[in-house]
Amino acid sequence: MTESVQAMPLTLRARVEARLKTRHAQEMRFRTYGRVAIFVALAFLAVLLGRVISQGYSTFIDYQMTVPVFVDPARVDKTDISGTNFDLLIADQMLVRLGVKDDDYGSKSDKVMDLISNDLGFQILARVKADPSLIGKTVKISGPVKSDGALYFKGEMKRSTPQEERKLDNQQLGWLDKMQATGLVKGGFNTGFFTRSDSTEPEQAGVLGAVVGSAMMLVVTALLAVPIGVMAATYLEEFAPKNRWTDIIEVNINNLAAVPSIVYGLLGLAVFINWLHVPRSSPLLGGLVLALMALPTVIIATRSALRAVPPSIREAALGVGASRTQTVFHHVLPLAMPGVMTGAILSLAHALGETAPLLMIGMISFVPGVPESFTSSATVLPVQVFIWENASERGFHERTAGAIMVLLVFMIVMNLAAIIVRRRFERRW
C-alpha cells in the first residue's frame, strides 16, 4: 500500500492537543450557555417591566375638560334637583360652543355625551344641591374627558382605523380636535388617578382607595406578624431547650413558609370569617390572613439575624451578671435589630404584593371609596390590578398597568428601605 493511505500514528502530544481543542470548545460552549441563561432571565425582566411601563405610562397623562355651564332655570326643577339631566345640559351647551346644530332627535347631543365624563354632571349636581342659588348662574367646572376620547388624545385610538372598528366616529373625533384647539380640553398630569377610588367609568377610576386599603392592611399585618414573629424566633433561638417539641416547631415553621398562599385564604375563610365572624373583605381580615402568611418568613429572618450575633456578646453579658432575659433584651436583640428589620420589611413587601388569599376572603368586591375603618369593605392594590385586568373597557387596560406601576413603586421603596437599613446598620464581627 502507498504511504498516503497508511494512517500516521499520532504522537501523544498531537492527540492531547486535538482533544484539548474540543475540550476548550466545550468549555466555551458551557460558558456561553450560562451567559445565555442569564441574558434570557434579564431580558424577561426588561420585557416585563418595559411592557408594564409602555402600557401604563399613559395613565398618568390626563385630559381635563374645563367648561362654564349655565345652570338653565328652565331645565332645573328647584324642587327636584337630582331629577335634572345635567349630562344633557352640559352636552347641549357644548354643542352650541362647537357650533353644531342638533337635530330634532337629539342624536348629536347623545354623541357629545359620549365624550364627556358623567363626573362633570355629578359635580354640577353636587354644587347646585349644596347651593340652589346657583340656578340661573354660570358654573365653571372641570372634569376628565370620557375614556374613549382620552384614548384618542393619547393616540391609542387612531383616525386611520376604519370608523366601524372604533368606538368614536369621525364626527366625534372632529369635535374632540376642536375642543382641544379651542382650549376646552387640556392635557396634564393625572392627579385624579391618585385622588379617586375605583369606579365603573375608566376615566374616573383611581387607586386612592386601594392604596389606603393596602396601607391599612399592611399596618395590621405588621402589628401582628413582626412582634409575634420576633418573639417566637427569640424564644426558639435564645431560650428554647433543644428537644422534640422545639424540633417540631422548627420543622413546622419551615413547612409553613412553603405552604401555597391560597391555602391561607382558605384558612381565613373557614376560621376567620365562618368561625370568628371577622367582617368580610375588611383590612382587618386581610391583615390577619397575611400576618399568618408572613409569620414564618419573619421568624426565619429573625433567627438568622440572631444567629449572626456572636456568642461572645452573650457570654460577656452573662459574665457580668445579667440574666438570660436581660442579655437578650439589652444586648442580643438590639444588635440583631438591623437584620430583623430587613427581614420584616421584605416579608411585608411580599405581603403587599399578595393577591390570591385576598380573593378568597372577599376583597374582590367593588369598593368605590376609601375604606372608613379597619372593619369596613376595602380593596388593595394587587386586587385592584386583578379587577381592572378583568374589566372589558379598553380604558381600564392602561389603568391596570398604571396601578401595577404604583404597586411596583411601593415594592421598590420597601426593598430600598430594607437595603438601606442593612447597609446603614450592618455590622461585621
Binding site: 460552549r29 402600557q55 405552604v259
Partner: protein
C-alpha cells in the same frame, strides 16, 4: 368600640400601677435599690402585668367570641314560628335579627305577621344578651384587675424575686408566640379537613380523586335540571401537572445555568449586578406576572401560532394548520412559560446557595488535575450538589403547583384532561379561586369542593416540601 375604650383604660390603669409599685419598691428598700433583690422597675412590671394581662385577656375573649355566644344563646330557644323553618332560613332569620342590633347587611327577606313580631323579640333579646356579655366582661375584667393588684402589690418586699417572676411572664409570652406557628398549621389542617369531610359526605373521595369529569355548576334550586354537578378532579390534576411541567422546562435550565455561571464563572462585579436584578424578578408580585401573561405573552403566542397555522393550511399538515389557526389566548403554554419566568430566580438563588456550599477544595483538586472549569462543574461540583439541586427543583415544583394568579389570569376555566400545551386547561388553584370568589352560600358541595381541592393541594405541596427539606438537611450535614 367599648372594648377599645376598656382596653385603653386598662392600659392606663396598669401603667399607673407600674409607677406606684416601683415607688413602693424604692420606699421599702429605704431609697437604696441595692437592698432589693431586683431592680425597682421589675417590681413595677410585676404588679402591672398582674393587673393588666388577665383583665385584657377577658376583654379580648369577649370581643372575639361574644358574638358566637350571643348567636348560640339566641338559637338555643328559637320562637315557634322560626323553629318550623328550615335550617337555612333560620340562619337568615337570626342574622337579620342580629343585623338590626349591630348594624350590618340585612337580607332582602320580608317578614310578616308572627315572624315580624318574632324578629323584633329576637333582636331585643340579641341586644340584651350582647349587653350582658359586654358589661359582664367589663365587670369581670375590672374585678380581675383589682384582684391582681391586691394580690401582687403586698408582695413587694426586699426579698421578693420580682425579676424572676417577670422573666417567667416574658418566657410564657414568647412560648405563646412560637406556638402560634403550630396553631396556624393546626388551623389550616383542621379547617381543610373539616370542610373537606363535609364535602366528602356528598361526593365520595374516590369519585373526587379519580373522576374524569369536573363540572361543579350546581343549579340554585334542587329541582332544576342538572342540579347535580360532577366533581372528578382528574382534569384539574392534569392541567396543574401540564402547567407545572412547562414551567419547570423553562425555569430549570435557565435557573440552573445562571446559578452555575454566577457561582463558578462570573466576576464579583457581574455577581453584584446580576443577583439584585434576579431578586427584582423574584420580588415582582404574581398578579403582575398574570397581567403580563394575559395581555402580552398570550396575544403574542396566539398570533404566532395562528400565523404558523395559516402557512400549513392546504398543505400536508392541513389539519394541524387548521388547529393552530384557531388557538386561543388562554393556553397552558402561556401560563406555564410565564410561571417558568417567575420561578427562574427561585431556582437560581436556591441552586446558587447549594453550589456555593460545595467545598472549594473539591474544585481545587479537580482543577489541579487538569480538568477545565466546565469539566470540574459537570463532573465534580454538580454531582456533589445534585441532591441539593433536586431539592431546589422540588421546592420550585411545589411553588408552581400552588401558584394561583398567573394561571387564574392566563390559563382558563375549561376542565380538560389533556397534555396538549396549546389547549386551554384549568388548574386546582384556578378552580379554588373561581369556586370561592363572589358570594356563595357556604353549604353547597360546590363551595365545599374548593376545600377538597385545597386539602389535596396542601397535602401535595407539604409532601414535596418535607422531602425537599429532608434532602437539603441531609446534604448540608455532609460538608459541615
Amino acid at each position: 368600640m367599648l372594648t377599645w375604650v376598656a382596653l385603653l383604660a386598662l392600659a392606663l390603669f396598669s401603667g399607673a400601677t407600674f409607677f406606684a409599685a416601683r415607688r413602693k419598691a424604692l420606699v421599702v428598700a429605704g431609697g437604696r435599690a441595692a437592698n432589693m433583690h431586683s431592680l425597682p422597675g421589675y417590681y413595677g412590671s410585676f404588679v402591672a402585668l398582674w393587673v393588666g394581662v388577665p383583665a385584657a385577656l377577658i376583654l379580648l375573649m369577649a370581643a372575639l367570641f361574644g358574638s358566637r355566644v350571643e348567636e348560640a344563646v339566641l338559637r338555643a330557644s328559637p320562637p315557634a314560628a322560626v323553629q318550623a323553618m328550615d335550617a337555612e332560613a333560620q340562619t337568615v332569620f337570626f342574622d337579620d335579627a342580629r343585623a338590626r342590633v349591630h348594624g350590618g347587611q340585612a337580607s332582602q327577606t320580608v317578614y310578616q305577621g308572627q315572624l315580624a313580631k318574632d324578629l323584633k323579640a329576637t333582636s331585643a333579646k340579641s341586644r340584651s344578651v350582647s349587653q350582658t356579655i359586654g358589661y359582664g366582661a367589663l365587670a369581670s375584667a375590672s374585678l380581675v384587675a383589682l384582684a391582681g393588684l391586691l394580690v401582687a402589690y403586698p408582695k413587694i418586699r426586699p426579698d421578693f424575686r420580682a425579676r424572676n417572676r417577670v422573666e417567667t411572664w416574658i418566657a410564657a409570652l414568647f412560648i405563646l408566640c412560637s406556638v402560634t406557628a403550630i396553631l396556624t398549621t393546626l388551623g389550616i389542617v383542621a379547617s381543610l379537613v373539616w370542610e373537606s369531610w363535609r364535602f366528602f359526605q356528598s361526593v365520595s373521595p374516590i369519585d373526587f380523586l379519580f373522576g374524569l369529569e369536573w363540572n361543579p355548576q350546581i343549579a340554585m334550586r334542587a329541582d332544576q335540571f342538572g342540579s347535580k354537578g360532577a366533581f372528578g378532579a382528574v382534569p384539574l390534576f392534569a392541567g396543574t401537572f401540564l402547567v407545572m411541567m412547562i414551567a419547570m422546562l423553562v425555569a430549570a435550565p435557565i435557573g440552573l445555568y445562571s446559578a452555575i455561571y454566577l457561582s463558578e464563572y462570573a466576576s464579583p462585579w457581574t455577581r453584584a449586578v446580576v443577583k439584585p436584578m434576579l431578586e427584582i424578578l423574584a420580588g415582582v408580585p404574581t398578579v403582575v406576572y398574570g397581567f403580563f401573561a394575559a395581555l402580552t405573552v398570550g396575544p403574542i403566542f396566539r398570533s404566532f401560532f395562528n400565523w404558523l397555522g395559516s402557512f400549513m393550511i392546504g398543505g400536508p399538515f392541513d389539519a394541524l394548520g387548521m388547529y393552530l389557526a384557531q388557538v386561543q389566548n388562554q393556553m397552558a403554554l402561556v401560563a406555564g412559560a410565564v410561571m417558568g419566568i417567575m420561578l427562574i430566580p427561585f431556582v437560581s438563588s436556591l441552586s446558587d446557595d447549594i453550589i456555593n456550599a460545595v467545598p472549594q477544595t473539591l474544585r481545587d483538586g479537580s482543577l489541579a488535575m487538569g480538568a477545565t472549569r466546565s469539566e470540574t462543574v459537570k463532573q465534580v461540583v454538580l454531582p456533589a450538589a445534585l441532591p441539593g439541586i433536586m431539592a431546589a427543583l422540588l421546592l420550585a415544583v411545589s411553588r408552581a403547583v400552588g401558584e394561583t394568579m398567573i394561571v387564574t389570569m392566563a390559563a382558563g376555566l375549561q376542565a380538560k384532561t389533556t397534555l396538549n400545551p396549546l389547549d386551554t386547561v384549568t388548574t386546582v388553584t384556578v378552580q379554588i379561586v373561581t369556586l370561592l370568589t363572589g358570594d356563595q352560600e357556604f353549604d353547597s358541595p360546590k363551595t365545599l369542593s374548593a376545600f377538597g381541592l385545597g386539602l389535596t393541594l396542601f397535602a401535595v405541596t407539604l409532601t414535596l416540601n418535607v422531602i425537599a427539606l429532608r434532602i437539603v438537611q441531609k446534604y448540608r450535614e455532609q460538608y459541615d
